[in-house]
Symmetry: D2
Subunit: 363 residues, 4 copies
């Protein structure tokens, strides 16, 4: 089930960049949730192309159609099939890249694995694959909100332009095209991106996600730790090359005395710090869950690159057309969606952790 | 199946730090592999306590017993049950920590999740849980070797002591207690650890793993990308707080022009660099697979720490007894084991990726 | 993943009787299979309504549309999404049954489980749900044929009209509307069905399936025995109430001396009989695999029946409109499809059973 | 995960007839259940050899040892590992059957699948494999009792000796060695078994199971129907060749008018009959769940049988030693155990079916 994710709330995704459509089947959505296409569209619109000069102008509406699983605007407990049609599917001639392995892309590896690959716009390895994840994440997010959980997801860094101090993150300043919640750093980053565009180059960055309102006790002790499943979810997104939770790689230079989060009690359990990022032993502590992912620069650049083709002949290629110079801003909602799916799934798992819970439902 | 990992080659682990035993059931090991307890013991000995002054002197043999799945030294295709008895299980009095939530440990989160926790030495959240993973990894590694795949796993950094340049990694210099393949840096790190020990403190670090000999085409395109499953595998190890593949977090400051790996053909496909870490689109490229994990400092320190107990009373605790001042060296073989299991599992998955493969087996 | 079936070749189905569409996502189909919509249509046409006077005249084309997973008529290894639109979806007024629990239907149980149910034509519990299975089975069957495996599936009994002797099964006489391979018995059965129709009643029957060409060694020893997975597959079909393999329930009155199948060797392994139905210890013997399923009479009948509604008021209902007086003939292709999916999935599993197979692929 | 069963409450079993031990790992048992070895032993004793003259006198204690997952007699939510040692493992010389394929056994199929088989007492295909299932079922049954669910499981038929009328089932008359709740029929059956023993022959039969106290709403609509999972569970037991629920195969000759179960309301929902066996659309109706399984005669008989060996030479064999002339009585507790596991697992699944349930736990 390599195109499925989740144990209780499961998404199965399908579709290629230039096929007829892309979609997701959500299996395990509880019955009784109010849901219509607008709930999904608002998420899809956040990853839609053409939102700013930093994204490809590909002319796609990306309209969500719910094909099953609801009746009169309410989920029925049956699988929710959501489809987005590819209107733009026949707009290009791919003969120049059909036989070439583009550097930084999955062309060579797909061909080695399957003996065939869909060369039209990257096929299944295209960023358009994430449409299905975002649709699945929109539904998960709505359920989470009903259970008191919300997510903040944003750009933390682009190139060397970083919001260094968490105190400088201002969610009121998210209205820029980079989804970077600090206008000062965002403007610097935009200048830098434009410079890269002039150089026919692309740039990477870091997305951060903070999850609020998760009660302690969510996540499984061993292989399905909350942070382990988040890590899989994040690295499963095309361009992600790293994941860290809480202090992350900084723990390598920490000491126990400053990495442990001490505890007190003031009407509720209080932690003095959150080096752990809200997860201990794979299980939520009740604090904010904080993690970051590293996203590589767009591999499609219009500089000349050396590579080979299917016949193993060497060639220099220049990838024409306009491509996003940066993946990060459009990845923000993908990260948020995968985080929502992962967390909800483990919250559902957790409902059978105690005899007391079972007795409450089967009383 | 929260205590299982893998789709084809699956390990199911069980056991607590101070229960009768710990163990693993390996399901899906192909028949016809020569296997005896020595194959497993050599792996277990690498994580055994008492190997150096940097590890707890807990007196455990950690002897592997194969209970099923082999006949006359050959695997039969039936589940391989491996058990390690806890000889040392009754040696302590836990009354002082039975009701206390130790900072940096999973005491509080287990209690919130299950309403009960095994306070004896951390129970299921103890590092001893990794014994079962290492046994499972020993078998996976043996299969991989027969298929031409080998793994090098070592300490890359302890605190600020890092083998900065990959060229300074010398696998002939692994004979130090830190499994750090550069004697000069290792000695500096050992001095630093001893300083931390004098301060009743602990220290973190970074483990790196390089996998050689993987053919291109292994890994699944979407949710079970090779790097995504490695990320889950790694974050599922108790103290791991971060994972990165190839250039990892450095991609945030890279450009497409220097992050893409160009290709040539010289008798075989050749990449000019390996920024990707051997994986593109979740599928192996045929290059070395290179990843790193960040490991936090041991949370058990004998400095005074502020915390609460089960009744929510605040107290100061000092964790007595001798604890590893650093988790990293003993984690090396755990990282290697989980990597082997993850890779083998995806290599098995890959056997049904093409009609040609199926026709070869069912001809 | 309650709407998914299979471990390697997995179908995930979605859709309700009167929603916009129904469909299946096939995950794990090997790359390199020639496939187009005609391959699927020929299967769907076998279960289409309106084929004879014994099936509902519902005016549906049931046209298969492949939305993803193929390129230029060949599978790519990516998920194959197949959709069938419900053209007829708005044709009825359901106000009279929206609140009533029809006897023999899943109305009451869905409502109890989910707190809501899609009352339009049975929603997810409708026989139309099997469209998605048949589409998945059409693809599985095509793969199986390339591997030398074929399936014969037919009506063995309707009411008391049975093809008693296996020697009287004549696959050349399948051209009747009952898919019953013996014209004499089929005509008797047709008379009987017409009698039931005159009585506003319905009738049950037995479907038998024979699978040819399966090599010995397919199936897993314990929980995923070939016959165990077939049993799940069959009972998962709406109206099926029983499953038996080989001699089935007759073994209750057998003795070991006449139930065991003795063996000889004449150029190949030869069994003297096939009481086992081609499976021993859950693994194929290389003989024909033979199983039967019992299918209940259509629960929708236009006789007056006593029942309750959602408010627990008692009422008498008469289900108007024309309904199939018998489920059996249209179930034949559903049984065949689920059998093909189940078998293929286990054949794929089996490819990692031996080190020798792995070495052959990774040599 | 071919040696695992279940989605939430999962058993993973291991062990061969003549290995060191057999066992089960139960993953997903809720925390807070009182459990000790006696709870398991009482189930194991029901399948133990040597209980009567109709079972093999193999000298095994079959003592359950809990190795993990409980503390102070209460489950902790961590995996419960239970082991039963094979004391009797070295008692025989297998040289005469090591190379022979016994008719009715899985010798040939295991060898074809794995290229090797454990010939000692049938290895993994031995009936002793069910010890692990029974241990897993004992724990499941205890949980079910706390949730108000109980199971009655018994022998319904041996050879042609059947308790024809359900009204003649008297659970007070279960104290006979056949677990057949009607002394009159049981005595006839015992006479018949003894006749078979004198003829060096064996005999089959039917086990029936009735589950009381299941609330409506348990079971999943499509592939994991309650009856579908029961069917898999039952056919996964070695000697089972058929499964039917409610009227089962009799529905083939029923009409809708007498097969549908009409409903009324008298303080609670009341069905007038139970032809469905307590399941509609795969979901429990709240009535008793009633199913039957057909069990073949013991394949080991001491009559001369014709077969082949590994070199494909034909031989006549006589299987010496004393074997159970009938599997049925010892299978009763295995059927009950697998039913308990299956039902509990689906009851746990059902806890996430509604938003209301989730809000109740996460309020």
């Amino acid at each position: 089930m390599n195109n499925s994710f989740g144990h209780n709330y499961t998404i199965t995704t399908w579709g290629e960049s230039h096929g007829k459509a892309l979609g997701v089947v959500i299996d395990g959505c509880p019955a009784g949730l109010e849901l219509d296409e607008k709930d999904i569209q608002v998420f899809l619109d956040r990853r839609k192309p053409g939102q700013s000069k930093y994204t490809t102008p590909r002319n796609e509406d990306d309209k969500a159609i719910i094909l099953s699983g609801t009746m009169e605007g309410v989920t029925t407990g049956c699988p929710i099939s959501i489809m987005v049609e590819n209107n733009n599917q026949k707009s290009r001639d791919y003969s120049n890249i059909a036989n070439v392995y583009r550097p930084g892309h999955a062309d060579y590896t797909f061909e080695e694995k399957f003996g065939i690959r869909d060369y039209r716009g990257g096929g299944r390895s295209s960023g358009r694959e994430t449409i299905a994840r975002v649709a699945g994440g929109a539904v998960a997010s709505k359920i989470l909100r009903e259970l008191g959980v919300t997510l903040d997801c944003y750009t933390r860094a682009i190139g060397k332009y970083v919001i260094s101090d968490s105190n400088d993150i201002n969610m009121d300043e998210m209205d820029n095209p980079l989804y970077m919640p600090n206008d000062r750093v965002a403007f610097q980053a935009m200048d830098y991106i434009e410079e890269c565009m002039r150089n026919s180059d692309s740039v990477g960055g870091i997305v951060e996600c903070v999850i609020h309102g998760v009660k302690p006790g969510v996540g499984e002790p061993v292989f399905n730790k909350l942070d382990a499943k988040l890590a899989q979810a994040m690295l499963s997104i095309g361009a992600v090359k790293g994941f860290e939770i809480g202090d992350g790689f900084r723990v390598a230079t920490s000491n126990g005395s400053n990495n442990n989060d001490e505890m007190s009690y003031q009407e509720d359990v209080v932690f003095h710090s959150n080096h752990a990022g809200g997860v201990l032993g794979g299980i939520s502590t009740g604090q904010d869950i904080v993690f970051r992912v590293a996203i590589k620069p767009t591999p499609s650049i219009s500089q000349k690159q050396h590579t080979i083709d299917r016949l193993h002949d060497e060639i220099d290629i220049t990838i024409n057309g306009r491509h996003d110079p940066i993946i990060v801003p459009r990845a923000v909602v993908v990260v948020e969606s995968m985080a929502a799916i992962t967390l909800l799934d483990l919250m559902m798992d957790n409902m059978t952790s105690k005899m007391d819970y079972m007795k409450e439902i089967y009383k």
